[in-house]
């Protein structure tokens, strides 16, 4: 497996994503510069967190017009897996790879904290190693993470099982008090209709080592490896 990690000016979780692939999975990872048109033969693309283009205009609004994004969109349209984390999620929404949008946190503050997520779907290449309803701890670090979508879009993605992660409390309830940013229905992560693009505000690449407080993100990366190995083998 080879992962292409896209680097925009202002990306700052690119090295964590690189290490997730290179160290946790022991697989090949390469950086893909935003001005290039080359995904270097990657069979997984990661849009990492950060503040691409300084979040000018809106988070992700400028990054989506980067040369590399044309290749990422084409790759996703061919069914290639794209993991879009935090600013990557914002970029994926702006690029039309995922429905909805991410707005300023309802408390208007940047929030950096561990949160509990409930796994809502394991029928994706990103979550097959989790259990339905499993509660994992993963950190968030964002100022613009409030997921929103038109009511009909929201109904469609809920109905189609595209909501993958929800913010919950320690007992696994998607309570209002467990919602850090005001996201509709406590939504923390969704997949595209085809299931091959995952956007999530929390950072699974920062939850891979007990030293950092949680290993809740490990199964996400091992799930991806399983899916890509199965693809390669079939």
């Amino acid at each position: 497996m080879k992962a292409g990690i896209v680097r925009f000016p202002g990306s700052n979780c690119d090295e964590d994503a690189f290490n997730a692939v290179a160290e946790t999975l022991g697989q090949e990872a390469v950086y893909c510069w935003h001005k290039d048109h080359d995904l270097q033969g990657a069979d997984l693309v990661i849009l990492p967190g950060g503040f691409s283009y300084g979040d000018y205009l809106r988070p992700g609004a400028i990054a989506r017009f980067s040369p590399i994004m044309q290749e990422v969109v084409a790759f996703a349209r061919r069914g290639g897996p794209v993991l879009a984390i935090c600013n990557g999620f914002q970029i994926a929404c702006e690029a039309g790879l995922l429905p909805g949008a991410l707005l300023r946190n309802s408390n208007l503050r940047f929030i950096s904290a561990p949160v509990q997520l409930r796994v809502e779907s394991i029928a994706t290449p990103f979550t097959s190693r989790y259990h339905i309803g499993e509660v994992i701890t993963v950190p968030i670090a964002h100022g613009d993470g409030r997921f929103t979508a038109d009511p009909d879009v929201l109904a469609r993605i809920e109905g189609a099982g595209q909501v993958v992660f929800r913010y919950v409390n320690a007992s696994g309830d998607a309570a209002l008090s467990a919602n850090p940013n005001g996201s509709l229905r406590n939504i923390a992560g969704i997949v595209s209709a085809g299931g091959n693009v995952l956007g999530m505000m929390p950072h699974p690449e920062r939850a891979l080592d007990p030293l950092l407080g949680s290993i809740g993100g490990v199964a996400l990366f091992t799930s991806l490896l399983d899916a890509l190995m199965t693809r390669a083998g079939s």
């Binding site: 205009l57 929404c93 300023r104 929103t148 005001g182």
Partner: protein, 85 residues
């Protein structure tokens, strides 16, 4: 071609929570402006451009809003002015 100056307002769509607008509204109320209702905080852009006519300039501003300046999921835009620069 003539130079035009375009003024574009972009605001959060009505019905979508605008926490900045709510904070401003609450502050105005505490200052005694009890008559103030809904407040939405957005962006104001001024663009210099060239176009064959004011209508063409307005149309290009509309396309810019649709493609980049406004997010169609969450924001409304208004081309507030098209003036010869």
């Amino acid at each position: 071609m003539t130079r035009y100056r375009l003024s574009v307002h972009i605001v959060p769509r009505r019905g979508i929570l605008d926490p900045q607008g709510k904070a401003v509204s609450d502050a105005l109320h505490s200052l005694g402006f009890a008559q103030v209702g809904d407040v939405r905080v957005g962006r104001f852009l001024v663009l210099d451009t060239e176009a064959a006519s004011a209508e063409a300039a307005r149309e290009s501003a509309r396309v810019m809003c649709e493609k980049l300046l406004a997010n169609p999921v969450t924001e409304d835009y208004e081309i507030a002015a098209v003036e010869q620069a």
